[in-house]
């Protein structure tokens, strides 16, 4: 008998293959780290544990703590100010605070290293204003430090916390804050004792996303001279060609990822404050005089530091290069072509895989869908840093390549050489976006639509094609856009898995920064930031629509 809980054997098999495929790099990593050659791996581990890991783990812990504290303060503070108060610019800042999302961490580090250089424009201007003559008399603290890394990553990653906190504050019923005030709390006390604890689940999600991004970062940490675990994985493999050692560090990093996810779950535990009832939302209070201007400055600073200053710098440098320099080189044009090709391939594969998983795992009313767990597995990749994923994929990919090479009697690495492994790595990493987006889209469609179609003689696949795909189009396009932009920005996995002589805009920029030549890097960075602005604009539009609905000004 065919089980009516299943969605058709083809879909089930495809979804199962995708879910198991996600686990392959993680299992390969464990095998490499522990099982491949036990005595050799033990010896290596002893060396790593004595000389490499303590320093890298301490740096990573310091970076995570610092960035975590900074994103919580900036994200929560700004979200509360723009939700609970009205002040000059608060409307614009409400969405502008999302802009740093368009700025990859390695680009902001790249821009600030030049911008804040001892003989750069900012320090020069400060010296001129204070009457100093040279960098020997006055210079700002060096950006290439732990403090510099915390500062820059914090100002770029705070929107993850801001987004969730903003949505929570905007939907909290006003009468709870009013009750706290009536019970003798000050405005600050009511925020601290009512609004903040209620927003805790959203803050936990935002914080964990920001910290996962911090763990994923390889470019900014390396530019700023901070040897994190992620940087160490990269250098262990690239400069020392030590795959087992890299896998062992990657496993340690994976342990940190699991700890972060558990921390997030703990933060959200038994905290479900969402209410289906529509209640009066918090009405913003209009600030006057110096308080109003102070609020404007405080909320504008993160936008200025995290987006406006580096974006203007990149635009100016690009303009100078185009106007007075040699224009755009053939190498950069070819990197742009490679980037678009890679992003296109990743988008097609990721969205197709996401559709398969989301459709196979969709809710089926009162029946339990036995494939539901597969969507949980399929979304795991987002938490795994790109370098860890790349190291995990190397062994299975090389084994398949060797088999293919001997089968067709052709020397070389067909999958690695064609960039297939890189596309697969990016697909694993970004699969959570289409799965999440399409699942959310499916959840909005009544189950009766599918049942009506089936009773009118259509199969499950025919129903997907004729009913769900047309209705899911906005969700599919939105997730495709997110994947495309993230694939354009991707650096860590691309650095490790790209074919020889294959540069994307991100690796081009990385090479320029590594060489200390900033000439064309700015153009590459600007192109990535402009592409990254697209989804941020869409997100900002959503925030504004939501705001209009909340305040009834639609």
């Amino acid at each position: 008998m065919r089980d009516i809980r299943s969605v058709g054997p083809g879909w089930r098999l495809a979804s199962l293959t995708i879910a198991l495929g996600i686990l392959v790099p993680i299992l390969a990593l464990l095998w490499l780290a522990i099982g491949a050659d036990l005595s050799a791996s033990r010896g290596r581990w002893a060396h790593l544990a004595a000389y490499v890991l303590p320093h890298a783990a301490l740096n990573t812990a310091l970076l995570l703590t610092g960035v975590g504290a900074l994103v919580l303060v900036i994200g929560t503070g700004c979200a509360w100010l723009v939700t609970a108060y009205r002040f000059p610019g608060s409307g614009v800042l409400g969405w502008a605070l999302l802009l740093p999302l368009a700025m990859p961490t390695y680009i902001v580090a790249f821009a600030y290293l030049d911008l804040l250089h001892p003989i750069g424009p900012v320090q020069g201007a400060i010296r001129w204003a204070l009457g100093f003559e040279g960098p020997r008399q006055f210079r700002l603290p060096d950006l290439r430090s732990m403090g510099g890394a915390v500062f820059l990553l914090g100002f770029v990653l705070y929107p993850y916390v801001y987004m969730g906190a903003r949505a929570m504050f905007a939907t909290q019923p006003a009468h709870l804050m009013e009750a706290a005030r009536a019970l003798g709390e000050t405005q600050w006390g009511a925020f601290r004792r009512v609004a903040l604890p209620m927003a805790r689940p959203a803050l936990a999600v935002g914080l964990s996303l920001a910290l996962l991004e911090t763990l994923n970062d390889v470019g900014a940490s390396e530019f700023l001279g901070v040897q994190t675990l992620t940087v160490t994985i990269y250098t262990t493999w690239i400069t020392r060609s030590d795959l087992t050692g890299a896998a062992q560090i990657a496993c340690t990093t994976l342990g940190l990822v699991v700890a972060l996810i558990l921390l997030e779950r703990h933060g959200r535990k038994r905290q479900r404050f969402g209410s289906a009832q529509r209640m009066r939302a918090i009405q913003p209070v209009r600030l006057q005089g110096s308080a109003a201007w102070a609020a404007s400055v405080i909320t504008a600073l993160p936008v200025l530091i995290g987006f406006v200053a580096p974006a203007l710098y990149l635009a100016w440098e690009s303009f100078k290069r185009m106007r007075y320099g040699d224009g755009v080189s053939a190498g950069l044009i070819s990197s742009l072509g490679n980037t678009l090709m890679l992003a296109f391939g990743v988008t097609v594969l990721t969205v197709a895989a996401g559709l398969v998983v989301a459709w196979a795992a969709r809710p089926m009313g009162s029946l339990r869908n036995r494939a539901a767990w597969q969507s949980g597995i399929a979304t795991l990749g987002y938490a795994v840093p790109g370098t860890v994923l790349a190291i995990g994929l190397l062994t299975p990919a090389l084994a398949i390549d060797a088999a293919l090479a001997s089968l067709f009697q052709q020397p070389g690495l067909p999958l690695m050489g064609l960039g297939v492994v890189l596309v697969v790595a990016c697909t694993i990493r970004f699969l959570a976006m289409p799965v999440g987006g399409i699942e959310a889209g499916l959840a909005r469609l009544p189950l009766a639509l599918e049942q009506a179609s089936r009773l009118l003689g259509e199969t499950a696949t025919g129903t997907l094609r004729r009913v769900h795909l047309p209705l899911l189009r906005p969700a599919i396009i939105a997730s495709a856009l997110l994947v495309f932009v993230d694939a354009m920005k991707e650096l860590p996995a691309t650095l490790l898995l790209r074919p020889a002589n294959f540069d994307t805009l991100a690796t081009w920029l990385y090479a320029e920064a590594a060489r200390g030549t900033y000439e064309e890097g700015a153009i590459a960075a600007l192109a990535i930031v402009l592409a990254g602005l697209l989804p941020v604009v869409l997100l900002a539009r959503k925030v504004m629509q939501f705001e209009n609905k909340e305040t009834g000004t639609a």
Binding site: I4, L367, Q451, L455
Partner: protein, 220 residues
């Protein structure tokens, strides 16, 4: 062609944490071809679950469901919904929002020739008394019009059995009274076997030829 329905001592259950939990136990029902039956009972008694099992959306744990003496659901046999020739009208109508009224009505006729399909859609639109609404989208129709289009869509492929899941519950009292009568006349005119689920005594009495009363499920 309309068919006779036989529901023979079925048990329906859902998967609880401590194993399957019965919703309907040892339930039977017979409906002659061309008759309109009604499952009447309070909310939560399992009448919609019976309807969903006949449609093929719920597994049968024991007993059998037969259409013209052919088993379509037993613990061993499960004919997929699309092959049962059972039509259904949903409580929320479930009209496809991206298709026009005419495209909705023609949805189940994809294997028909273009000319036959168009003729059948026109016939159905005439039957429900809305010959001009074909090009309109569901959101451009009133509640009563949407309900009649949903009926036309369910009838268009000439189902052997039509199931109606509280189809009048979203309408105001006046429209409900008028449509109950109209829908019955349409079904009778086409000799359609139909099974209605309702908790409204008036609908049960006026609409159907035979009423099957289901008791509230005893609490566990």
């Amino acid at each position: 062609m309309s068919a006779a329905l036989k529901v023979d001592r079925i048990t329906l259950a859902y998967d609880g944490q401590a194993g399957p939990r019965a919703i309907v136990d040892n339930f039977s029902l017979g409906l002659a071809a061309g008759n309109i039956g009604c499952l009447f009972g309070p909310s939560g008694c399992g009448k919609s679950t019976v309807l969903r099992a006949i449609a093929g959306f719920e597994p049968v744990r024991a007993g059998a469901i037969l259409l013209n003496d052919i088993p379509i659901s037993t613990p061993q046999i499960h004919l997929p919904p699309e092959r049962r020739k059972v039509g259904m009208m949903f409580q929320e109508y479930a009209l496809f929002p991206h298709l026009t009224a005419a495209q909705n009505i023609g949805f189940g006729l994809r294997l028909w020739s273009r000319a036959d399909l168009q003729a059948r859609v026109a016939e159905m639109l005439a039957l429900i008394g809305l010959p001009a609404v074909g090009p309109r989208f569901p959101h451009e129709l009133s509640g009563g019009q949407q309900q009649r289009v949903a009926l036309a869509r369910a009838l268009a492929p000439r189902p052997a059995l039509l199931l109606l899941d509280e189809p009048f519950s979203n309408l105001d009292a006046d429209t409900r009274e008028r449509l109950t009568d109209e829908v019955r006349q349409i079904l009778k005119a086409s000799g359609q076997t139909a099974l209605l689920v309702t908790h409204n005594e008036f609908e049960a009495g006026v609409f159907s030829d035979q009423v099957c009363v289901m008791d509230a499920r005893p609490s566990p």
